[in-house]
Symmetry: D2
Subunit: 399 residues, 4 copies
């Protein structure tokens, strides 16, 4: 419950993004290069707009790491927005004026034509903004770069404790991968849409191109998978300790994610109990790992607790809300019919979304592992984990 805690700050066209991650144990090898790799994965993907081309994200570590290892103190990341100093925004005005800390003269042009599907209207009403920019700068998908930075730190911890994270795109628009196809993770990483099947990937790219031509956008579905995760994470004892719930929050905390399943969700609801539940194999079929299952419909969680099988999470990503051919909308200032505001945007973020889902899962799992195993150094946490796993033999005569 809150062993690992993290916040992000910063606006899309402000000076940059700040992250603090509190609770990472000491002694974890960590470098800026490892974080950079995850940030780079997020920036790839067919369907991204102009920003991805001009700006390569880099997170500077500004606390918590010394001589190549964490110290147990909070880790601070700083991801500069290069656009802030150099770029031009609305009215060809430098972003550092539009986003200035202090008031500038003349006042930056206000955005009042709210975009459906964004926080534009909801946040403006909630916070009392006159200028929708006060909302859209923070509600922007740019914030996910900060999450991926935080997630890269958590991922390093999880990896040291045996976890491996992957994800792939299974649907973009109406182009879907055959659900029976197993992902080849190398192929996924090489694919411009993070799809394991090259011909499906091509169809996805075609769909993205078509949407772009229409000034439209596309959503889709992705699947993330964590293998090597220890059993025993989360708990059945209280509603807010369930690992499944914590994953649910982490995923649906992204504006673009509108659905989440753990293992067989909506498709599993059609099965009978006999078809759904994952038979526990007897000891002689375990093949070196304890308490194996025959199938994995549960997606690695039973009773709110990890069961040692792969964690499988599927996520529904809505189409991007900013359309080049804008939807009709209303004006915040007058309530009158207008066209929604358009601001440089992507056509499809489903490929990048998988990287974000991996990051969020890493943050949840790192927290759950620290909660279960305790420890203030990697050595201590690992020692505690290993001594726990050694107890999980059959209570009887097993050797």
């Amino acid at each position: 419950m809150g062993s690992l805690r993290w916040f992000t700050a910063g606006e899309s066209h402000g000076p940059g993004l700040t992250v603090i991650i509190d609770g990472v144990p000491a002694g974890l090898p960590l470098s800026e290069e490892q974080i950079r790799q995850q940030l780079a994965r997020r920036q790839k993907g067919y369907g991204r707009g102009g920003r991805m081309k001009i700006e390569t994200d880099y997170a500077h570590i500004r606390g918590g790491v010394r001589q190549g290892r964490t110290m147990g103190s909070p880790i601070a990341l700083w991801i500069e927005n290069r656009d802030f100093d150099k770029g031009l925004g609305p009215d060809k005005r430098p972003w550092r004026e539009t986003m200035s800390l202090e008031s500038v003269d003349p006042t930056p042009t206000q955005v009042t034509r709210v975009r459906p599907g964004h926080a534009d209207l909801t946040a403006s009403l909630k916070y009392g903004y006159d200028d929708v920019r006060d909302s859209l700068e923070r509600a922007s998908a740019r914030e996910s770069a900060a999450r991926v930075g935080a997630g890269a730190v958590a991922r390093r911890l999880c990896e040291e404790l045996g976890c491996e994270f992957n994800s792939h795109v299974v649907q973009i628009g109406s182009v879907a991968l055959d659900p029976s196809v197993e992902a080849d993770w190398d192929a996924v990483e090489a694919s411009p849409v993070r799809c394991t099947d090259a011909s499906v990937a091509e169809a996805m790219i075609d769909a993205i191109n078509a949407a772009k031509r229409d000034g439209d956008t596309l959503g889709g579905t992705l699947e993330a998978r964590v293998s090597g995760m220890p059993f025993g994470l989360g708990s059945h004892v209280q509603w807010d300790r369930k690992l499944s719930g914590r994953i649910g929050q982490a995923i649906l905390s992204m504006n673009a994610f509108k659905g989440v399943e753990i293992g067989d969700g909506f498709s599993g609801a059609v099965l009978t109990g006999r078809g759904y539940h994952d038979v526990v194999l007897p000891q002689d079929a375990w093949d070196g790992r304890a308490w194996r299952r025959q199938t994995n419909h549960a997606g690695g969680i039973e009773g709110g607790i990890s069961n040692g099988e792969d964690l499988i999470v599927r996520v529904a990503v809505k189409p991007i809300a900013t359309l080049a051919h804008p939807l009709p909308s209303a004006d915040l200032a007058t309530g009158e019919r207008v066209e929604a505001h358009y601001e440089r945007s992507d056509v499809c973020v489903v490929p990048a979304a998988g990287v974000i889902v991996e990051a969020m899962l890493a943050l949840v799992l790192a927290d759950a592992m620290l909660e279960k195993f305790g420890g203030d150094s990697l050595a201590e946490t690992r020692r505690n984990m290993e001594s726990f796993l050694a107890t999980a033999v059959p209570r009887g005569e097993w050797t």
Copy 2:
């Protein structure tokens, strides 16, 4: 962030369930009868097993209420398990011995044949139990009675602030309601499977009967809907303030719920941006309520903030894990092939699940309203809400 906090305690065959709800404002009219109604709704539903027949849940309020109104102090609920004192459990032994606080002689028969799909194995490994009963008594769906009790209190607060909660079953096994059908809430409440269409309901009942004959179980899908919810709940500013994420956690914190969608989730991922996003109507089409939408694909949340439209949440419920014709499994003590344990259980809980989802949503929304509007009495919270809503007119000349 934690304005309303609640815990449940108690085991399925122990003396009873205890609930504490901390943070309910003073001055809310609240009676045991109002809680009883929700508990009764949970106990109905075709497909429930024997327990529902023998035992009618009643929550005694044991703190926080005086002279018909809350006092702002924590509300304690006590739901007695009548079985504890009177019922017989394994080996025809009274439950009060099997579940005795103090050790009894002879030791109660241990359960070691783990049921796939339950916390049986995961919790036993995590907590080091020799007897799976130490897990199954708490991981039991019985705990949801405590949640419905807590939810009934939260619901009362939400109702006073204008919300109305409903839910209906849209699929059981492979029998599905046509998605275009609008629910008639009275019909739903009258239906034994909480399905709005009587002929579909009949097919659902047939499916449940067939599963029962097979010693099998069924899952399904339900949809919950909250109307009258104010806009401005949740926030876009930090990952853990998003209303969507908090709903995700609340729903996936039930063991049986494996998928959740807000608005169009997996089905919406297929749409293009133009088809998906909900056009904001101009002022002259508002018809007495501000900032109306033409459609509601978003399910009432944009940017992690409620937008004033109905909250729509769809939930995938897995088939019950306890099968009368048990699955093969392994023995906790020996690792050997056995049949899974069977303990009195239901065949299908999807109808009841809707009531639980309503309760969880009420708990999330009550918390979010207290966070947004503050206040320590119903009058104060309502006054703050009303003065906020009055500001949400177009910033311009609207009168």
Copy 3:
């Protein structure tokens, strides 16, 4: 950070007190008798009023314990208020009418003459009460019985992990124990004012008698001490992880406690650095325990982390706010000059306060140990603790 979580509920003259403690590991031996002993210690002490004589507190465990051991699930306690059913309150009316859940006719007499020093006025303004009873019933010191119940559970865990809790009264009114006197814990437990020195105790009793004759009340100072606590609890890395801060919150969360010191606080502020700081002894002077100190001015905490020496906490207890010869005050309804309300009360609670301080410290330390060592069963937590302590030898050649 929230490994162990607990809430209390219930009013002083309502049906009873409810407690939920969430996060206690499985396998901890726990009985109602162990809790009863702590509740009994709280009820003793010279200077208590009538209630202590009529009512002996008993906490029924209603969840989380089976066959003599905890299960890891939340522990629920129920402490009945016998007065509720049998006692008469204001206007010789049964408490169960005055405190009725439902409104009774005629309406119970309202209390409006606020007592200075209580929550009477502050809570009534905050929560909008017309009847001060809505505040005083929950703000009552009776709630501390629930804390002592929760603390008794936490104490059991701490004891199993090596901690021992004691406290003694060092001052009542102007009668003070010589600070150089070391407490004899058996003598303290036998003393009616929990003072180690019999002649000082006698003077304290005289002072209490004198205050009683005057219709007045007395406060005082007590010292609590925890020995056997492992080093490494708390943290220096973030403000809210400091063990010292968490103790500060726990202690000042009691209305009657107005000051707290860890080790030499206000008296230590007079010393120079050389006189204050506790020299770390070299290895050859450790005598079986690692990293011993020559003195303990720091009271067992340095840098927000326990250092293995005794935890020493001193607490200032204000005189009780309810006076038999009431203070002048104002009326909540009219603002006019009145005498404050009087309701059956004690003259001095300093002896009992020590038991409450021990309980609060046990709750903080149990949480801190679970956070540091993790673990879901006593065996796991203990194993993790022991393997940690084994690492705390000099990094060099020590054997």
Copy 4:
């Protein structure tokens, strides 16, 4: 409960300090200049060492503020450590090598001679450090600059809602201000030791000089006062909602603070109830403000709730642990007798400590006000506060 949340990160000689403050409402006028003023107050004070002379702290706002006002999004602060790039540390080596993110060759000289009174030993054992620098860089009082930065933001919010913060030194070593003297805040701000009485201040300076000559350090006592605070903050209903407890945590979360009192603490414990409790004046003596008291022994909090009088908090500050003439100690690596490490340090921080206490109080109060009044913009929070205060008239006929 966590409406306003904040973390700090960064090491004393690392690149700088990072702060994120989450939950500040939108529309609050905020400038870097306002934060700079508080940082400058912290750096003043007789008895500070060399660092204060070389480095002037400046916090850059890097998120959450635009055009002179907050946006409701998290506020990020960046306080650069100029020493990191330019300064030389141990072995005349640049700090940027000693504190390098990546491992450097040769490895920086390790600190192993632990200082009593610091986190040196406790944190090294807890986190498994070989090099005490991994602890002392974060446990350093430098972190308080980040707190003062965060506090400056909270203070701005509190000020807009009517609060005024002050503090003064009442004792340094054995030189004490007469407790009956009222502070003149202008004189305090002008005094090099933040003492209201010039001749006492001179004696304090003499004491600091003497300690410096001896290679020793001094502690002391300070008093902070918040006026204009609304009543109704905090709550009596649950232990962790008490305003007093939250203040206790905030204060004792500073390593150097070993004691805290709210109002009359240890001195008040000597009084009788009649002498201690603050008589509520009748309406005709209120003189424009509601529910006034005759005295303020309670220090502004009754029953865990603010009562509208000044908040008075007294804090005991221990002498600094780093001595120029070091104490004997033991070596982390060998357990052998050594002299403690010395690193550039101050002689007395009591004057600066008052600024830190003000900052911590501002953070607690801002959180409590947001919890009580809700609101996402300054206008909304203020409107809710004002409408609440308007209800706090006598329930009867008052006009």
